[in-house]
């Protein structure tokens, strides 16, 4: 199965990258951009075909390694064999 872990800075944490990119978009003439924040996405291929097992593996990877619980939250999506983003199966959110 394929899965995805999206890791984002917590809302209240400063995101210097997002701020700089937002300003750059302003300078490029993009108006109407309210805010921009940058996160990370991990595309993981898992050998298991059991959604529950896959989800719990992703969950613990996110907690143990992919997200820094002090400043980041994560979100998990399980995808079918199709391309990333398509075939949304389920999703879970957590304060890492």
């Amino acid at each position: 199965m394929r899965g995805q872990v999206v890791v984002r800075l917590k809302r209240e944490v400063l995101d210097p990258q997002g701020v700089t990119i937002g300003k750059a978009l302003d300078n490029l003439g993009y108006e109407g951009v309210g805010s921009l924040r940058q996160g990370k996405v991990f595309d993981v291929e898992l050998e298991t075909n059991d959604p529950a097992a896959a989800r719990s593996a992703l969950e613990s990877m996110a907690r143990d390694l992919l997200a820094n619980p002090v400043i980041e939250d994560y979100e998990i999506q399980l995808l079918d064999e199709g391309s990333a983003g398509e075939g949304l199966v389920t999703e879970e959110e957590g304060r890492a």
Binding site: I21, A24, L28
Partner: protein, 245 residues
């Protein structure tokens, strides 16, 4: 003959580049990224550092600075443009040089001396070197791992665009002599016309043996030869350092 050193918010090697130019008798001055014109510069250096904090991708945001339209025109008119470190990253982001720069294979910032061999001396930046000469420059970067896809790479090699490659003390090649994982050990790369060159190591940090090595100095001397035809024009005047303290 004047060299313009282009810098951006977050650049931090612009004064070193000006110093290096002046050391070899070239007139040099800073060009702020918001300038609309190049004020008649005869060569350009895009300085190293962390333009815009290296946010998004190194060099990605700097390519949109107001002055860059002029830089692009200057380059396409055949003017000499040298991108050092972040300057190299900006040149590839702009597409003035092919390929891209990825994170070092060790996934760490690395500051160290590194060896590279000069392959092409028919260039405004290397004409004072001997072909095959092995240089010791200093590097300091996180994203200097040069990458190009197969077709691009073949094209680069075919058109003799690789100016220098990382190597060992006797010119030997191999992973242990390649400090960042660059494909084909590419250390310095030029465009097809030869007037635009980028490299990750810093020639402006190796100008005198007292500070490690003088091997970078010849790159600036080459530029002087290209601009003035003068093979030796040692600056005998005391150097005016940009005093901003």
């Amino acid at each position: 003959m004047r060299v313009g050193v282009v810098y951006y918010p977050g650049s931090n090697c612009e004064q070193d580049a000006v110093y290096a130019c002046r050391l070899v008798g070239l007139d040099a001055e800073l060009v702020w990224h918001k300038q609309e014109s190049l004020d008649g510069c005869d060569a350009l250096i895009l300085a190293g550092g962390f333009s815009y904090g290296d946010h998004l991708r190194c060099g990605a945001i700097a390519q949109f600075s107001p002055v860059m339209k002029q830089v692009e025109r200057f380059a396409s008119d055949g003017g000499p443009v040298l991108g050092i470190c972040n300057g190299f990253q900006i040149l590839v982001e702009m597409g003035l040089l092919p390929g891209a720069l990825l994170a070092n294979d060790g996934l760490k910032f690395r500051c160290q001396d590194t060896r590279m061999q000069v392959e092409k001396t028919d260039s405004p930046f290397t004409n004072a070197y001997a072909e095959g000469q092995i240089l010791r420059l200093n590097m300091a970067h996180y994203e200097g791992n040069y990458f190009a896809d197969e077709a691009t790479l073949a094209d680069i090699e075919q058109h003799q665009q690789v100016v220098m490659r990382f190597c060992g003390p006797n010119g030997e090649r191999g992973a242990e002599h390649n400090p960042n994982g660059s494909i084909n050990d590419i250390a310095a790369l030029r465009n097809r016309a030869g007037n635009v060159m980028g490299l990750m190591p810093h020639p402006e940090r190796v100008l005198t043996p007292e500070l490690g090595s003088a091997d970078g100095r010849l790159m600036f001397e080459s530029l002087r030869v290209a601009l003035t035809g003068m093979a030796s024009a040692e600056n005998t005047e005391p150097l005016e350092v940009i005093a901003d303290v």
